[in-house]
């Protein structure tokens, strides 16, 4: 090991920046709501996020120090455990129901969200699969069908919670990774057609999804009901302007945008630090993405390559979709903004992902030596 090259410093710096900035933004966005809901204690969400972040950092250091290549033996167990958790969360009594959806399992004082871990499980599974079948990916039975079945089971379980957006997100990540992994293009087209039919079926059977899409289309014409979140977040961004109102000076978090610290934190961010700040944050995400893809490109290990690719794709898809939703370019879906949105499971998964990237980066540095 060379001194000063112990691990990938750029990625680590980005991680620390996103983590700390995330805690500040969550504090700013949630203080008012926490004050109202949690016994006049405005730190509530920020402190929890900080605790998860510290646990996450320990996990980062742990993953950074293990022999990652050996982890492929455990992928099947990880997938199995995630599947069990996904089934368990559907069982009343184990799964914690919040506003109509069973998405959480209570674990001491914390609630974990198995669907968040499912993303990482799927990425690890796909990386392992592509590595093993790298020359048979073009085939339908050996290359296309097996990963599709596994991903399909995951998606169905998550849709049952119901958590349509996470399921779609996992599907999207899987499709992108498999596409890069060399799957036959015509099967993907076929899958797309089937997906549209299936998605249409789901939308028709759950009126709230229609409302969400309607709200997105109608936009501001109905500010009290369907496009509620979008109208507010657009307004927040518009009033933020170029330089913003200043950190913690968001108004939309006080009146109009409930749960501002979760999926819509980018609206608060845009309102407070303005267009300039938002561009900087996007730039940092792109920098992270660039590092992830560079690692994927540089490593010779195919398993690592697709692990890094999958993680980069996951972060990119999350970031882009979240910002698109907040700025009204896509219909509202529950996609978190990596590191900045409040949520312990989400933060842990993203941090673990960074740990994996750092580990792969280490192997490249060692290889160079």
């Amino acid at each position: 090991m060379i001194k000063g090259k112990l691990f990938d410093q750029i990625i680590f710096m980005l991680l620390i920046f996103f983590f700390l900035f995330g805690v500040i933004m969550i504090y700013s966005a949630s203080g008012y709501q926490a004050y109202k809901l949690h016994n006049l204690y405005p730190h509530y969400y920020a402190v929890r996020q900080l605790m998860f972040g510290i646990i996450g950092l320990l996990i980062v250091f742990f993953i950074n120090s293990i022999n990652l290549d050996g982890s492929r033996d455990y992928v099947k167990y990880f997938v199995l455990i995630t599947l069990i958790l996904l089934i368990a969360v559907l069982i009343p009594g184990i799964g914690n129901k919040v506003s109509g959806a069973r998405r959480w399992i209570k674990f001491f004082a914390f609630k974990i969200q198995p669907s968040e871990f499912a993303k990482l499980a799927i990425i690890m599974f796909l990386a392992n699969f592509i590595d093993k079948r790298r020359n048979k990916m073009d085939s339908f039975l050996e290359g296309f069908l097996p990963p599709m079945i596994i991903v399909g089971i995951f998606m169905v379980l998550i849709v049952l919670e119901p958590d349509f957006s996470t399921a779609m997100l996992i599907g999207l990540i899987a499709v992108i990774v498999l596409f890069i992994g060399g799957i036959n293009f015509k099967y993907l087209v076929g899958l797309f057609v089937v997906g549209i039919i299936f998605g249409g079926f789901l939308i028709i059977h759950s009126p709230y999804r229609i409302n969400r899409i309607k709200g997105w289309v109608l936009g501001e014409t109905d500010p009290l009901n369907k496009g509620y979140h979008i109208t507010r977040s657009k307004l927040a961004l518009a009033t933020g302007g170029f330089l913003g109102k200043g950190l913690t000076h968001s108004e939309v978090k006080i009146a109009g945008l409930p749960e501002a610290h979760t999926d819509f934190i980018f609206a608060v961010l845009g309102e407070e630090i303005g267009f300039l700040g938002a561009i900087f944050i996007i730039f940092f995400y792109l920098l992270l993405l660039y590092r992830g893809l560079k690692i994927a490109r540089d490593t010779q290990n195919v398993y690592f390559k697709f692990l890094a690719l999958g993680i980069s794709v996951m972060i990119a898809v999350h970031t882009f979709i979240n910002i698109a939703v907040v700025s009204g370019a896509l219909p509202p879906t529950g996609v978190t903004l990596p590191f900045l949105s409040y949520g312990g499971s989400s933060l842990l998964v993203f941090m673990a992902s960074i740990g994996i990237l750092m580990n792969i980066s280490n192997t490249i540095i060692k290889g160079e030596k």
Binding site: Y27, T221, T231, I254, G256, G270, A296, F320, A329
Partner: protein, 690 residues
């Protein structure tokens, strides 16, 4: 294609798609954040055109929504108002309110009809209620404890069950109704203080200051102070009002009301040496629980602080203090009262046109002899009189802080006519409010010190721990020497003795000092001073050697024959006796003093005069003639009522002018403009204000 090359190629495709997406995202973001016009639609799509009507209604909505809302009316109760021994005067109770989302029901006339039937009103009335406001949620039932009503709604309007909701609201309750109403005041429906202490101490009672801090400086959420958050609910205000004394005063005023039917009555009880207001009541008054039912806004008027009047003879206390303090009179001096006394064509009389003959100074005060006082002030420079008026607190508000408090009017000496000096020394040509008057006259029992009147004793937090204690008397200034005060006090004791004008205020076994006052009122019909109506007042305090209570009673227009000695003095006595019965022993408190403002020295009041003059530079007035020897209307702006009447007295008779007078204070409007020719039997309207 090899596996590696394929990956490379497909990765580039994905990267290209990502780049496009990011680019679009940033364009969209910049369009929204940098170039959006908040009031205009960004684009006029078909859907937006279809819903344009809807849009008009809500166009302003988003901006309204980001205005920070107050949380006080939503969650936290307002603080209580207590009398000094923690008797509850105002508190908030939680009420369950039934609200209705009118949007969901308004289209269905049948449902509205059923609802009106359930609520025991008519369809029209309910419909009117719906349309009277822009709000969507209508408060249907104020105090919901009737389960039957709910059941009926559930049964008959099952379809609309979602349209109904509950709200908890705090309702302000004033358990003693009219008791102390003018001081307590009242709140609006959303619990904001509108009047009285409720308004004056609104920040304290609603705790709104702390809340505002969080809204207006959202940075406070990040770096806030926990104490600010915990003091969110309103603090409690403890008044200096003594519940029992207030009770006595309220009952006595009711008696006077039923006996004389005067236009208004005011009574203030204060504690000398501390300046605390122990009781304050007016008639007419109101029930703060039912402010919305008040038809005559006059009942809301706190006469004690909002209405000014010419003090009349009680003013002689100030004049006496001046004469004694400046050593212009000694007890052996004999003053003759011939019954009438002419100065500059104006004849002064004593009350009831009595001739008092030879008197000592003490007797002049005891007899309330106008002519005696006028003779004594003849050689006093008017600037000196003005200085004493200022030192006694005339011309500025007492600083009590209640809404509607006014200061009486005192003209600077430059604007005094030749008669002003004499008129002012017997309580005419100047005006004061009742509170100003009692506070000024308390200089005598206070040993010469003018104190700040106080109404709030302490502020307590929601656990009733004292947060702020307001116990220290505030001395505004030493208006006269202690020696003078003692001597004047002795004269005032003689007013109460048999033979004095205030003998009906005498209480056995207690040394009472006081002074009667009978001021004339303006007769609206004739425009002159009324022959029948008067303002009867009595100021007194006891025990004279160690004053504990000072009381001012003012009975406005109690009918013919009413006077300070006959109408107000007995009321004073009744109240005083009952207070003595209630307080069997008098607490003797150690008095600490807070601050002393300097006396108005000659230089000061000259400065003040200069400033006043710069504001109101007016020439003396006489009636001029034009070439045809017609009389021309003078400019009366800024003149007092009495001056105007003096100036116009001959013209009024000669031209048989129909005079109408409105308001009190100084003239600001005259219907015949200056330098216009005065015609016979013309109507002249004069309007006065402070």
């Amino acid at each position: 294609m090899s596996f590696e090359k394929k990956i490379e190629f497909r990765l580039k495709i994905i990267l290209f798609l990502f780049c496009c997406f990011v680019l679009l995202l940033i364009i969209n973001l910049s369009k929204m954040m940098l170039f959006s016009n908040l009031n205009e639609p960004e684009e006029d799509t078909l859907l937006e055109r279809l819903t344009k009507e809807e849009k008009k209604k809500t166009a302003k909505l988003p901006l309204n929504i980001i205005k920070p809302k107050e949380i006080s009316s939503i969650t936290l109760p307002r603080g209580m108002i207590y009398a000094r021994n923690l008797e509850k005067l105002a508190f908030s109770v939680k009420k369950k309110i039934l609200v209705l989302d009118k949007r969901k029901v308004i289209e269905d006339k049948g449902a509205v009809a059923i609802l009106s039937e359930i609520l025991n009103t008519t369809y029209e009335e309910l419909n009117k209620k719906f349309h009277s406001t822009n709000r969507n949620w209508i408060e249907l039932v104020d105090d919901l404890d009737d389960e039957k009503l709910l059941d009926e709604i559930r049964r008959r309007l099952k379809k609309y069950e979602n349209a109904f909701a509950f709200q908890t609201k705090y309702k302000r309750v004033y358990p003693h109704k009219n008791f102390l109403s003018h001081i307590i005041g009242y709140v609006s429906r959303d619990n904001r203080g509108l009047y009285g202490i409720e308004a004056a101490a609104d920040d304290v009672l609603s705790g709104r200051n702390a809340k505002n801090k969080i809204f207006q400086e959202p940075i406070g959420i990040l770096f806030y102070d926990k104490k600010i958050l915990s003091s969110f609910s309103g603090s409690n205000v403890v008044l200096t009002i003594d519940f029992n004394i207030q009770q006595i005063v309220e009952q006595e005023l009711d008696l006077i009301q039923s006996y004389y039917h005067p236009k208004s009555i005011t009574c203030i009880v204060m504690r000398p040496k501390t300046g605390e207001i122990l009781a304050l009541a007016n008639r007419p008054d109101f029930d703060p629980n039912e402010v919305n039912k008040i038809t005559d806004p006059e009942v809301l008027r706190n006469y004690a602080i909002s209405d000014w009047y010419e003090p009349g003879s009680t003013q002689k206390i100030v004049t006496a203090a001046l004469l004694v303090n400046e050593d212009l009179v000694d007890d052996s001096k004999i003053i003759n009262c011939p019954g009438r006394y002419k100065i500059y064509e104006h004849t002064y009389h004593c009350f009831n046109k009595v001739t008092h003959g030879d008197q000592t100074f003490a007797q002049v005060i005891a007899n309330s002899c106008n002519i005696g006082i006028i003779k004594l002030v003849a050689n006093v420079p008017k600037n000196l009189i003005y200085k004493y008026l200022l030192n006694f607190g005339y011309g500025i508000t007492t600083g009590l802080g209640l809404i509607g408090e006014r200061a009486g009017a005192v003209k600077p000496p430059e604007r005094w006519s030749g008669l002003s000096k004499y008129s002012i020394s017997i309580g005419q040509e100047i005006t004061v409010t009742a509170l100003q008057l009692i506070n000024s006259l308390m200089v005598i029992p206070n040993g010469g010190a003018l104190l700040q009147p106080r109404l709030i004793k302490e502020i307590r937090d929601d656990n009733n721990n004292v947060v702020i204690s307001n116990d220290t008397p505030i001395i505004i200034r030493q208006a006269i020497s202690e020696k003078t005060a003692k001597r004047v006090s002795r004269y005032l004791m003689e007013v109460i003795e048999s033979g004095g004008t205030g003998q009906k205020a005498k209480i056995k076994g207690i040394a009472v000092a006081g002074k009667t006052g009978t001021a004339q009122t303006i007769d609206q019909q004739t425009g002159g001073y009324s022959k029948e109506d008067s303002i009867a007042s009595f100021f007194g305090y006891f025990p004279e050697d160690k004053p504990e209570y000072a009381i001012l009673v003012i009975v406005n227009q109690a009918g013919k024959g009413a006077s300070g000695g006959l109408t107000a003095a007995p009321a004073f006595k009744n109240i005083a006796v009952r207070i003595l019965e209630y307080k069997e022993n008098y607490p003797v408190s150690d008095i600490k003093t807070a601050k002393v403002a300097p006396i108005y020295e000659n230089d000061d009041y000259i400065e003040i005069n200069k400033r006043e003059n710069a504001l109101k530079n007016k020439n003396t007035v006489d009636i001029r003639l034009d070439r045809e020897k017609n009389h021309l209307m003078p400019d009366l702006t800024g003149k007092s009522k009495r001056e105007c009447l003096n100036i116009l007295s001959e013209i009024l008779k000669e031209y048989n002018i129909n005079l109408k007078i409105e308001g009190a204070g100084y003239l600001y409007y005259q219907s015949i403009k200056p330098n216009n020719i005065i015609k016979k039997e013309q109507t002249l309207i004069l309007k006065f204000r402070g």
